[in-house]
Symmetry: C2
Subunit: 144 residues, 2 copies
């Protein structure tokens, strides 16, 4: 994820944005996440690490990163938006939510990507992103 952090900081700089403490901290912390996080989770993580950042600055940073396509927004119907680093390579994964415990996990699937690309080709829209959200029960919640 280090690669993403540097790529993001460089892209922000190239786009003419100043390097403030709040935004840089958000970028560095986001780059260390394993999967998608909410703005609040990010704020909590920062607080625990003693790098408290105002919630408004977090939202502003995430918004800007989204505009620059450096983060991907994911709304999985939980009532909160989740954010995760968007790899410059286009490499990505999708998510699965547990109805029991709310856990979010990720998966990748070649065949699914192929099906989506083929589908995009036959639609008369120009498609530039996609999200596949599965819902179900995780192994832990399924165990009796």
């Amino acid at each position: 994820m280090i690669a993403w952090t540097e790529h993001a900081l460089r892209t922000l700089d190239a786009a003419g944005y100043r390097s403030g403490a709040a935004r840089a901290t958000v970028v560095r912390t986001l780059g260390r996440q394993h999967c998608c996080v909410t703005a609040r989770e990010l704020a909590d993580t920062l607080r625990e690490e003693g790098e408290e950042v105002g919630i408004a600055s977090i939202y502003r940073a995430l918004d800007l990163l989204g505009e620059l396509r450096l983060v991907h927004r994911l709304d999985a119907g939980e009532g909160v938006v989740r954010y995760e680093p968007a790899m410059p390579t286009g490499e990505h994964h999708h998510h699965i939510l547990c109805d029991g415990c709310g856990r979010v996990a990720s998966y990748e699937d070649e065949r699914l990507e192929h099906a989506i690309h083929a589908l995009a080709d036959r639609l008369s829209w120009s498609v530039d992103s996609h999200d596949v959200v599965l819902r179900g029960t995780c192994p832990a919640c399924a165990a009796p």
Copy 2:
């Protein structure tokens, strides 16, 4: 969609819920929708038809219908939740959003469904629903 309306009313009755005016109106109106709608759109439609229903009752009706699996909730990252009738047959479609005008359209794709089922089989989760949201530019917005 008439079939869905009757199915929903019957299911509610069978589950022991009383038939109040607000909920019945929501069910009948929802059954006439072509695609997913928001609670506010539903409220506006009802008002135009002179069947005003309190917004709280609309949310409560949609919530109950969701629990009974009679409606499908879709959160496509617009900041609002959309709802649409869930066919008892399991027949369904997915959605594509236009970044330009916000339009939501629907599509069906056999190959995509196959890929998702195959994927679900190989995950150690029990998967019971899925959503595929595409984002892009609609033909109208793409035209210069």
